[in-house]
Symmetry: C2
Subunit: 636 residues, 2 copies
C-alpha cells in the first residue's frame, strides 16, 4: 500500500530560505512581530512602540479597579523591600541606604519597560554576595569603601549594558544554559554560604573573613571564639523563630500570606525600637548606623573605568547579569504560565538592562525580579506593572521621611531576616526528585552545590554549567541507535529491546538512528553500526546480514562529516555485500543528501518512505528469484 | 489493529544497568574485549597482552612472503623520511639531525605497540610549525637554541604523556572534536603559512620574522627587499617544478607512485651534489650545515621542567597532542576502511603516546602518522607494522654511515620539498563541497583557514572547534518540531511541509518532536508548541485545536528540565482545554516519565504506540458522543 508514496526529492529549499528559517527559530522562536504583518504603516509603528515600551500597551486600558489591587500589592512589597534592601546591601558590603535606593528608581524603569505583570523589582541575595565576592577579590570593602562602592556601581552599569545587549541581540538563549539542576544546586549552595555569613551577626563578631567558602568561614568563627557574645545570639534566635513561624503560617493557610510578608518589616521595626530603648550597642548588639534622608543622589560620576580595576566589574557583570536574568525571567515566566500570560524573555532582558543602567547612574546596585518579592506581589493580588510604581512611591516617602529611623535596626535582625529567607532556598525535595529521575542532573546539581559551598560561587556555577554542556556535547557524540522489530498484526516497527514481542526477519537488520549525525558522533555511528551487524551475526544459527535498513526518520540534522559517514557506511556495506536501504529521511537531511550527490550515489530505489515498504523490497530481493516469498503476509 | 499493542511501562532498568550501558557506549563503543568472555584465564591473559601489545598478535604469524612486501615499503618510506625529517626539523627550528633521529626510535616503538598495518611513522609539518610557534613565544630559537631544544623535547614528552593518558582513559572521544571541516580549514591555513615560511629559503633571506601570520611574513619579506638573491630562487623553482611534475605523474599513472615517493630524496641528493661542486654557499645558497654521525644520543637529561618555562611545553603538548592524534588516527582508520581492517582509536593513542615519551628520551621530537608517508607506505604494498621497522633500520644505517653527506643539502631544496607537499594540503574541492552541502560547515572551515593564516594556529583551531561546539549546543537548544499529516491510503504520518499530499484532521494537531529535550531547549519547545497551536488556529475557518498529539518516537534523551517542561505543557493544555496524547515514547524517556510520576499524572490512557491509534482515540472522543464518526475509514 505504502509503495504508492515515495521519498520527496523535489525542490530542496534555497540557502536563503533555510538561513532565514534557521535564524528565525534561533533568535525569534516566539515570533514577536507576528501581529505586524498586513497592518498599515501607522498602526505598525504604534505596535512596534507598544512592543518595546509595554506601558503604552497597558496604561491606556488602566482603570481604578485595577489600581485598587495594585495599590495593596505595591504597599505590601514595599514593606518587604525595606528590610530586604538593607539586609542584602549588608551582604554586598555596601552602605545600607543603597539597598533602599535600589527599590526606587529601578522599579519606575521596570513599570515603563517591563512586560511581566507579576514581577516585583528588587535586589537579590545571591547576586549581592556574588558581587561582593568578585569585587572584593580586587578591592577590600572595609579598607577602601569608596573605591569598592564605585566598582559596585560600575559592575551594575556593565550588567545593564550586558543585559540590554543580550536582549537586543536576541541572545535569550544564553539564559537557557542554566538548567533547573544547576539553579537548584547553585541556590542551595549560595543559601548555605549566605547563612554562614550571618553567623557574624548572630555571634556579634566584628572581625570576619572576606572569603565565602564553608571552610574559611567556619575556621574564622572558631578562631574568634573569644569575641563571641550571647546577647545578639539570643535576640537573633528570637527574631528567626518569629520569622519562621510567620512563614509556616503561610504554608498552612495561604490567606495569611500577609503575615509572612510584613514579618520582616515588623522585625526591623521591633528590633529598632528595642535597640533604641535598650541602648543595644552597649551590650554588643551592633546596629545599622547612620542613614541619610533624601532620595537617590546621582552616581554617574562614580562609575570607575580605570583599566587596573576594570576586569573585576566586567567579570561580576557577566556572572550576575546571566544569573539575574535567569532568576528574573524564570520567575516572570513561571507566574506567566499560571495566569496564561506570555512573557517575552528578550524584552525582559532589555527592561532589566535599562533598569540597571539607569540604576547605576542613581546610586542603585544590581536589581532583578526576586522570587520571594514576586511571590508576595502575586499573593497580594497585583494586576499590572503598576504595583512596582506604588512600591517606588512608598520607597520615596520612606527615603524622604523615615530613613533615619532605620539606623537603629540591629544587624542581627537583618541576619535573622536573611537566614529565614535563605532557609527556604535549600530545596531538598527537588534534589531528591533529581536523584530519583535523573542521576546526571543530580550530579550537576551537587557539583553546583558543593562547588559554591566549598570553592566559590563563580567556580561552582561554571563547573555545573560546564557539566551540563558536556551532556549536550556527549549527546551529539554518542547518538542513539536501536534495532527495530515488527509488532505482529500491525504496521509498526519498534525497538526490539523495549518491545520483546516484536519479530525480526532473518538476514534483514533494521536500525533506527538517533539524531543528530554530527562530526563528533559520526565515527561512533559507523563503528556502532558495524557492531550491530557483528552482534546480529553472532546470534546462534543466524544467517549473515544481507540487508541493512536504516530508519532516518528521527534524524533531524546532519552535517558534512555525517554525510561523509553515510558514504563510508555505503562503502563498508558494499565491501560486505550488504544491501543498504534508507527509510524516511527528513527534509533537511534530504537537502544535504542531494547537494552532496549521495542520493545519486546510492540510487533512488534505495530510499523508502516506510519501513514496511523497505522490508518488503528486501524480501523480494532475498526470495524474489526463487519465488519463495515466505510469510510475506506478516508484513502487509 | 494497532490498539492491540500498548506502550511498555513495565520494568524500567535499574540505575546500575543504565550507568553501565551509558559508560560502555561512551568509553567502549567498539567493545574491545568482546572476545574475552567465556575464555579460560590463561587464554584471556594472552588475549589481553595481545590486545595491548599488538606485535604479539601478528608476529607469530609473520612470514617471508609478507616480509618481501614490507621490505620494499620500508625502504621506500625511508627514502621519504630523510628529506621530510630534515625539512620539518627546519620548520620546527631545531637541528636537522633531530628530524632524522625522529624516524628511528619512534618507528620501532610503533612496530611493537601500533595497531594499524598501514601507518608509517614520521614527523608532520603542521605540528612542527605549531611547536615552533608555541615554544618560540617563550624562548627565541636563534638566541637560545639549547633551551629551545630542551623545551621541544619537554613538549614531546608531555605530548606523549597526554596521549597515553587519553588512550588509557578511553578519551578517544576528544579527537572527535575535530570535524572534517575544521581539519580542512586548518590544514589549508597551515599549508598557506608554511609555504609563506618557505619564501625565506626561496629568496635566500637570512633575517626572518618569528611570527607565522600572513601579514607579518609578507611584511618581513618586503621589508628585506635588499637581501633578495636570485640564485636560490632559480634553484628552488627548478626543484619545485621537478617535484610537482613527479607528483603529477602519480596522479596520471598510479603505478608510477614510486617516482613521486623518491623525488624528495632525489632532490636532496642532486641538490647536495650540486651544492658541493658549485660551492653554492658563495652564491648565496645556504646549506643545512654540519650533521653528526651516529644514532640518537639520550636526551632524558635535557627535559626541562622549570616552572617559568613549563607552561609553553604544556600548551604545545595539548595542542599538538590532539592534532597529531587526529591526523594519525584519521589516516589509520581511512586506510583501515579501504582494507576492511579495524583500527582501535584508543589503542592507537597509547601507541602514539609511548612513541613520543620514548622519543623525548632519545632526541626525537613529535611524531605521528603523517598522511603523505602513510599513503606512500600503502602504495608501496606494506602488509604489516614491519615496514616501520625496516624504515628504522634504514634510518639507523643512514645515521651511522651517511648523515654527514646530507650537510650539503641546500636549504632551498628543503623549501621546495615542503612547498610541494603543502600545495597538496590546500583542498579547494573539499571547501567547495562544504560550501555546496553545508554552509555552516563551510563557515567553520573558513574560520579555521583565516584564523590560522591571519592570527595564529592555536587561535584559528580554537575558534573553529568553538563554532563546531556551538553548533552542537544550538542543536540541543533548538530541537526540531514538525506538523504531521496522514498519507492517504497508508498508515504513515509524515511532515506536512515535506509531503504536501498529507491530510490533517480538523481539531487534531499532530507534532513530531525532535531530540533531545534538554534544559537548553525546553523553554523553546514549550513556546514553539504554543506557536504551532496559534498557527493552526490562525488558518482560515479552522476549528480550535482540541487534541494535541505529540510523537515522541524521535526523542532519544530527556533530562529533568525536559520532564518538567512536559508537565508544563500538560498544564498549559489543561488551561486551554486541549487533550494531550503522547505517542511512542522510547525506553529511556519512559523510565524518567515513570520515575517522575509523569505517567501517573497524565494517565496511561493518554499514551499510544502508534499515531494512527492516537488519532483514532481523538476522533472517538471528538465525535464519539454524537456517534458521528466522519470518514473514520481514512484512518485504519
Amino acid at each position: 500500500m505504502e509503495a504508492a508514496h515515495k521519498v520527496n526529492f523535489s525542490s530542496p529549499r534555497s540557502f536563503e530560505t533555510t538561513l532565514k528559517s534557521d535564524l528565525k527559530e534561533t533568535f525569534f522562536p516566539d515570533d514577536p512581530f507576528k501581529n505586524l504583518r498586513n497592518q498599515p504603516p501607522l498602526r505598525r509603528a504604534k505596535s512596534i512602540i507598544e512592543y518595546f515600551v509595554p506601558i503604552f500597551e497597558w496604561l491606556p486600558r488602566y482603570n481604578f479597579r485595577l489600581l485598587r489591587y495594585d495599590l495593596l500589592a505595591g504597599v505590601t512589597i514595599a514593606s518587604l523591600a525595606i528590610p530586604q534592601g538593607i539586609s542584602y546591601a549588608n551582604l554586598a558590603k555596601i552602605p545600607p541606604i543603597i539597598g533602599l535606593y535600589s527599590s526606587f528608581v529601578p522599579a519606575i524603569v521596570y513599570t515603563v519597560f517591563g512586560s511581566s505583570k507579576n514581577l516585583a523589582v528588587g535586589t537579590v541575595a545571591a547576586c549581592s554576595l556574588l558581587l561582593s565576592e568578585t569585587i572584593g577579590e580586587r578591592v577590600n570593602s572595609s579598607e577602601n569603601p569608596t573605591l569598592y562602592l564605585q566598582l559596585i556601581f560600575t559592575a551594575t552599569f556593565f550588567t545593564g549594558i550586558f543585559q540590554t545587549a543580550l536582549g537586543l541581540l536576541r541572545l535569550g538563549i544564553l539564559v537557557n544554559l542554566l538548567s533547573h539542576s544547576t539553579i537548584t544546586g547553585f541556590m542551595g549552595g549560595t543559601a548555605t554560604i549566605i547563612i554562614l555569613q550571618q553567623l557574624k551577626g548572630f555571634f556579634g563578631l566584628t572581625h570576619f573573613t572576606h572569603k565565602t567558602d564553608v571552610i574559611s568561614v567556619i575556621h574564622t568563627i572558631l578562631a574568634n571564639r573569644t569575641e563571641w557574645r550571647w546577647q545578639p545570639a539570643v535576640v537573633g534566635i528570637i527574631f528567626l523563630a518569629f520569622l519562621l513561624f510567620a512563614k509556616n503560617l503561610k504554608k498552612k493557610n495561604s490567606r495569611l500570606f500577609w503575615v509572612s510578608a510584613i514579618a520582616p518589616l515588623a522585625t526591623v521595626i521591633v528590633g529598632g525600637v528595642f535597640a533604641y530603648f535598650s541602648h543595644a550597642e552597649k551590650h554588643g548588639i551592633q546596629v545599622v548606623g547612620h542613614l541619610n534622608k533624601g532620595i537617590n543622589p546621582l552616581s554617574i560620576h562614580a562609575l570607575n573605568f580605570e583599566s587596573r580595576y576594570i576586569s573585576a566589574p566586567i567579570k561580576a557583570a557577566v556572572l550576575t547579569g546571566i544569573l539575574a536574568l535567569a532568576e528574573g525571567i524564570a520567575i516572570g515566566r513561571s507566574f506567566g504560565i499560571m495566569k496564561n500570560q506570555q512573557v517575552d524573555g528578550n524584552k525582559e532582558m532589555i527592561a532589566f538592562g535599562l533598569m540597571n543602567v539607569v540604576g547605576s547612574f542613581t546610586s542603585c546596585y544590581l536589581t532583578t525580579g526576586p522570587f520571594s518579592k514576586t511571590a508576595v506581589n502575586v499573593n497580594a493580588g497585583c494586576k499590572t506593572q503598576m504595583s512596582n510604581l506604588v512600591m517606588a512611591v512608598c520607597m520615596m516617602l520612606t527615603l524622604v521621611l523615615l530613613a533615619p529611623l532605620f539606623s537603629y535596626t540591629p544587624l542581627v535582625a537583618l541576619s535573622a531576616i536573611i537566614t529565614a529567607a535563605m532557609l527556604g532556598l535549600i530545596d531538598y525535595d527537588k534534589a531528591y526528585e533529581l536523584y530519583k529521575v535523573d542521576k546526571y542532573d543530580f550530579f550537576i546539581c551537587m557539583v553546583a552545590f558543593f562547588g559554591v559551598a566549598f570553592i566559590s560561587m563563580d567556580v561552582g556555577l561554571a563547573l555545573s554549567i560546564g557539566l551540563a554542556i558536556v551532556r549536550s556535547l556527549l549527546y551529539a557524540a554518542r547518538p542513539d541507535s536501536s534495532k527495530l522489530g515488527h509488532l505482529p498484526s500491525s504496521q509498526l516497527y519498534r525497538d526490539t529491546k523495549q518491545y520483546p514481542v516484536s519479530t525480526t526477519a532473518p538476514g534483514v537488520l533494521i536500525l533506527q538512528l538517533g539524531s543528530p549525525i554530527f562530526f563528533s558522533g559520526s565515527t561512533y555511528f559507523r563503528e556502532r553500526i558495524m557492531r550491530w551487524i557483528r552482534d546480529e551475526e553472532a546470534i546462534k544459527d543466524a544467517p549473515p546480514v544481507e540487508h541493512l535498513v536504516l530508519d532516518l526518520g528521527s534524524v533531524t540534522a546532519i552535517d558534512m562529516t555525517g554525510i561523509e559517514t553515510l558514504f563510508e557506511i555505503k562503502r563498508m556495506m558494499d565491501a560486505r555485500g550488504i544491501k543498504l536501504s534508507l527509510v524516511n529521511p527528513r527534509a533537511r537531511v534530504v537537502e544535504k543528501m542531494i547537494a552532496s550527490d549521495f542520493v545519486d550515489a546510492i540510487g533512488h530505489d534505495s530510499f523508502f518512505l516506510g519501513i514496511a515498504d523497505a522490508v518488503q523490497a528486501c524480501r523480494f530481493r532475498l526470495h524474489g528469484s526463487s519465488n519463495n516469498e515466505l510469510d510475506r503476509s506478516d508484513v502487509v
